[in-house]
Point group: C2
Chain length 122, copies 2
C-alpha cells in the first residue's frame, strides 16, 4: 500500500499576486475527474472517516487550516502551497477546521459509492 505524502508546490510571486500550480506528471500524481471544495466548516465538524478502493485524492488548505488524520499519520494542512496526496486504501478524517477555511480536494475518479471503505483498519 502506498502511504500518503506531502507535496510542496512552487509559488510564482510577482506584483500581480501569487500563482501556485501543479500538473500531472510532476506535482499531481493523477489526472483529476472530480473536484470539491469545503467552505464554512465549523471548528467542531468532522468529515471523511473513510478510505477509497481505487480513488486517489489530493487535499490542500487554500485558506485557513485543517487536521487530516490518516491510518498512519496526522497532518495539519495550513498552507496554500503544501498539499497532501492520499493514495487508495488510506482512510482520512478531517477535523479542527480553522474559521473560514477553504479546503480543495482533487480526486482521480468520479463519485462511486461502491468505492468507499468505512472499515477504519484499512
Amino acid at each position: 500500500m502506498i502511504v500518503p505524502y506531502l507535496i510542496q508546490f512552487a509559488q510564482h510571486i510577482d506584483n500581480r499576486g501569487t500563482l501556485i500550480f501543479g500538473e500531472v506528471g510532476s506535482e499531481l500524481p493523477f489526472t483529476v475527474k472530480r473536484a470539491f471544495w469545503i467552505l464554512h466548516a465549523s471548528s467542531l465538524a468532522t468529515r471523511g472517516g473513510h478510505a477509497h478502493n481505487e480513488c486517489h485524492q489530493f487535499l490542500i488548505a487554500l485558506k485557513g487550516s485543517v487536521l487530516v488524520e490518516t491510518n498512519i499519520a496526522s497532518y495539519t494542512l495550513a498552507s496554500p502551497h503544501i498539499g497532501l496526496y492520499v493514495p487508495p486504501k488510506n482512510s482520512i478524517t478531517l477535523s479542527e477546521f480553522a474559521k473560514d477555511s477553504i479546503i480543495l480536494v482533487l480526486c482521480s475518479h468520479k463519485y462511486d459509492k461502491e468505492d468507499y471503505i468505512y472499515d477504519q483498519i484499512c
Copy 2:
C-alpha cells in the same frame, strides 16, 4: 468555436459546512491535468490576456471576486458555486480582483507554451 458559459454547482450544506463538487461528465466538461490557484492579487493586477489552442479551462472564485473578460462577453465571478468554462480559442483577461480573493483554475492540458495565443482577436 464553442463560447464560454457559466456553470452552476449544487451546494451540499449541513451542520459540518458547505461542500461543492463537480465531476467530469456532469459539471466539468473535461478531465483535469493541471490546476492553479491565484492568491494575494492586487486590485490593480491584470492576468491572462491570451487564449489557448487546445486547452480547456474552468475558473471559479472560491473567495472574493474577479472580472473575467473574454472575446465575446465579460463575467464577474463572485461565488464559490458558479464558475466559468472557457473552451479553447477564447481569450481571457482577469482583473479587478477583490481583496484576498482566491481564484481556482482547472485546465485540460499540461503547460505548453506553444499552446498560448496572444492574438486578442481570436
